[in-house]
Amino acid sequence: MPEMDFRSIYEENADMLLRIAYRITNSTEAAEDVVHDAFGKMLQNQMDFPTNADAKYWLIRVVKNAAINYAKRKSREAKAYEKWWRSEGKPVEDVEAGSLSMADIGSDAGVEASAEEGLLRRESAEELRAALDSLPERLKVVLIMKEYGGMNYKEIGKALGISEGNVKVRAYRARIALLERLKREDDTNVPR
C-alpha cells in the first residue's frame, strides 16, 4: 500500500476508531492499543484494499472485535475478583465503587455546578454507561458506532456485514433495551 494511501486512511479514521474502541472498552489505553494494533496489522501484512473505504471497514471490524475481546476479558476478571471479594464476606458495592474511573465519566470541565449536581450527573453517567455495557454485544456495537463513531446505517452495515435494515432494527432494539434498563435502575433507586 503506498504511503500516501496509508496516511489518508489513518487521517480519516483514527479518531473514529479510537472513539468506538473507547466506548466498547471504557479505557483510553485499551482503545489506543487496539487501534494501534489494527493499523500495525494492516502495515505488517502489507494489506491491499481496492478502495480506502474497504480499508476503513476492515479497520472497524478489527478494532471492534479486538475491543469486544478486551471488554469480555476484563469482565471475566472483574467477576473473578468480585467472587473472591464476596467469599471474603465483604459487600460487593465496595468493588463496584472503584471499578469506574470518575475522570472518564462525563465530568465537563469548565461547567460550574454544585457538588450535589455534580454527584447526580456522575451517578447518571455511571448508570448510563453501566446500562450501555450491559446491552447484548450486537446491539451495543451498532449504537456505539452510530453515537460515537458518527457512522450512518450504510457504513455500519458494511462494517458489520449486515443489511441496513438490520442495522435499523438493532439500533431501535438497543435504544429500547437501554431505556428499559435505565427505567429499572430509576425504579430501584426511588426511596420507599
Binding site: 503506498p2 504511503e3 496509508f6 489513518y10 483514527a14 479518531d15 479510537l18 472513539r19 473507547y22 466506548r23 483510553t28 489505553e29 482503545a31 489506543e32 492499543d33 487501534v35 494501534h36 494494533d37 493499523f39 500495525g40 496489522k41 502495515l43 505488517q44 502489507q46 475522570a103 472518564d104 465519566i105 462525563g106 465530568s107 465537563d108 470541565a109 469548565g110 447518571s124 453517567a125 448510563l128 454507561r129 450501555l132 449504537l143 452510530k146 453515537e147 460515537y148 450512518n152 446505517y153 435499523k168 432494527v169 439500533a171 431501535y172 435504544r175 429500547i176 437501554l178 431505556l179 435505565l182
Partner: protein, 231 residues
Amino acid sequence: MCPDESLLSAYIDGEVPSPWKEKLESHVLDCPTCTVRVSEFRKLDARLQQLKSPDVEAKLAMARERIEADLRFDIADAEKSKRVPVLPQTLATGHLDTRYERKARRNGSRRAVLSMPVLAASVLVLIFAAGLVVGGKMLVNKKPQSLASASGTIQVGSGSMDSINQYWSSLKSDQGVTITMPSEVSFEPIGDPVIMTYNDGAATATVVSPVSSVPPTSSLGSDMPTQAPTP
C-alpha cells in the same frame, strides 16, 4: 395507525428519506404516543452524547498523536535505510510494537530504534568487550597458578616418576602443573603417544608417554609442555 417504532428510531438517526420523513413528522405531531417515544429517544441520545467528556477526548487525542508519531517514525526510519522506501519499519524488521513497549512510551519513555548496520556493529562491539572482560578474568585467575608452578619447579631425572608423584601430593587441589621436557635432550617417540593419568588420591597428573631418552635422531617431543590440572 402508528408506524413501526424502528422507523421513529431511524428518524432520530436521520435515516428516513423524503418524502417519508415529512409524513412521519406530520404523524408524530398528531400522535401523543409517538411524540413520547420520539422524545424518549431524543433524550437518550442527548444523554449518550453527554458521556463524551473533554477529559476523555483529550486522552484520545493524545493517543492518536502517539500512534501517528510512532507510525511516522517507523516510516522515516525505513526511508532512511532505503530498504523499503514507502513502507514502515514494522514491515522491514517484522517488529510490531508490543503493548508493553507502547505502555512504556505512554509513560514518557521513547523507543530507541537502530538501523541494522548500526545494530550489527553494536552487537559485535558488545561481544568483543564481553570477550575482553571474560578473557581478562581468566588471565587474572591463571596468574597465581603460573607463579605457583614456577615457584615450585623441581628437576627430576629420567624415569624418576616417584619424585614427580611426591610433588603432586604436596600440591593443593586447585593448582595446575606444567611439565616441561628437558630441551637439551632429544626424544625419540616409541609407538603412539599415550596420555597417562596418575591419581593417588591426593593429586592427579597427566603426562605424555612413551618417550625414550636416546641419542638425538629426532627433535619430536622436545621442549613439549604438558599442562595437567589437578582435581
